[in-house]
């Protein structure tokens, strides 16, 4: 859950990029790191705990300070999980304290089973943290739209966005930074709306 630090006047929010291996999660963070417009000192280093072949081993981590709302600095911490199936325990660790999720799906036809498996794995891992997909904000990103033999968006929606409440989805080509900012801004919007709704129901102490 996000941390509201009344003393430091900070709101800290954790967003996790989830999805199958080689789907473009790390690429999303690399593009954000390279292209996000921030003031001095508002963007941290992109830290990658990766294997020698550049596959994510533990997580990637990018802290960004976004804006000040009524005196509170909003600090976003962006994480990726390792997509490879064998690293499920690591994915569970990274999900701890998550506020919002970006599910990065690979648009190639042959990757559809992996997309579905990863999405189901997300739901299961959230369950171990007593979180339901019905209550946590998340968005879908259909990445690699520039490759040949990609599945139609309607088909991917049918596979991944078929729950009772449909969530926002974006097509993307993360390697060209297309759709990357749109996706992040949407999950940010959902998260902030959620906090507003929560605050509206809570009494303010004297």
């Amino acid at each position: 859950m996000a941390i509201i630090n009344q003393a430091a006047k900070e709101l800290q929010i954790k967003i996790v990029y989830y999805g199958p291996g080689m789907g473009g999660k790390t690429t999303n963070l690399v593009q954000l790191h390279d292209h996000v417009q921030t003031g001095s000192g508002q963007k941290g280093k992109l830290v990658s705990l990766a294997t020698s072949s550049d596959r994510t081993l533990f997580f990637d981590f990018l802290p960004i300070e976004a804006m000040t709302i009524k005196g509170f600095k909003t600090k976003f911490q962006l994480y990726t999980v390792p997509g490879q199936v064998i690293y499920n325990t690591t994915r569970q660790l990274v999900l701890r304290g998550v506020d919002g999720i970006v599910f990065v799906a690979d648009s190639q036809y042959e990757k559809m089973p992996e997309n579905v498996e990863s999405f189901q794995n997300l739901a299961e891992n959230l369950k171990t943290l007593h979180i339901s997909l019905d209550e946590i904000p998340y968005v879908l990103q259909y990445n690699k739209r520039d490759l040949p033999d990609v599945a139609p968006v309607e088909y991917m929606e049918f596979l991944l966005n078929n729950r009772d409440v449909q969530v926002p989805s974006f097509t993307a080509c993360a390697s060209k930074c297309e759709g990357v900012f749109e996706t992040l801004n949407m999950i940010t919007r959902q998260l902030l709306q959620k906090f507003i709704a929560q605050n509206a129901t809570q009494p303010v102490p004297a």
Partner: protein, 163 residues
Amino acid sequence: MDTLPQLIEEDVKRLDDMLRWFMVGTDATIALIIDKGGFLITFRTGNNMAEDLDVTTIAALASGAFMANQTIANLVHESNFNSIYQQGDNNSMFVTNVDNNCLLVVIFRSATGIGPIKFYASNTVNQIAAQMKVAKDRKPGAGVDLSALNLVDTRAVFQRKQN
């Protein structure tokens, strides 16, 4: 899921005081209180810190390392892996459990040795846990009034640099 309580100014001031006393006793380089999800709560630096440390990243990595250690403990059916200690040539690191939500991270000169760090940390950890319980029992409902943000247009949140 159990989560970190909201902290008010008084909480953080007391946590800072605890860290200050810890630093006096141990002469550590830096001590951080972090959330197990990787968030930094507060930190204090010592007199011997020569350079600015990236405390945000240290918090994220230390929580990841500790939680990975906890998972190994579960795998080997060990209930008492409650700290990790990494000794280096010049600097060492000690991470210890505070409660369900928090960790204390200490980076110190290796010449100091782990003894005094563990000795002072045991008391500080109890104090931190007690303060967190106070914060949790208080259940402050105060949040951030985000209504000032125009959520219809979130393009202003993260913008791409113009090349």
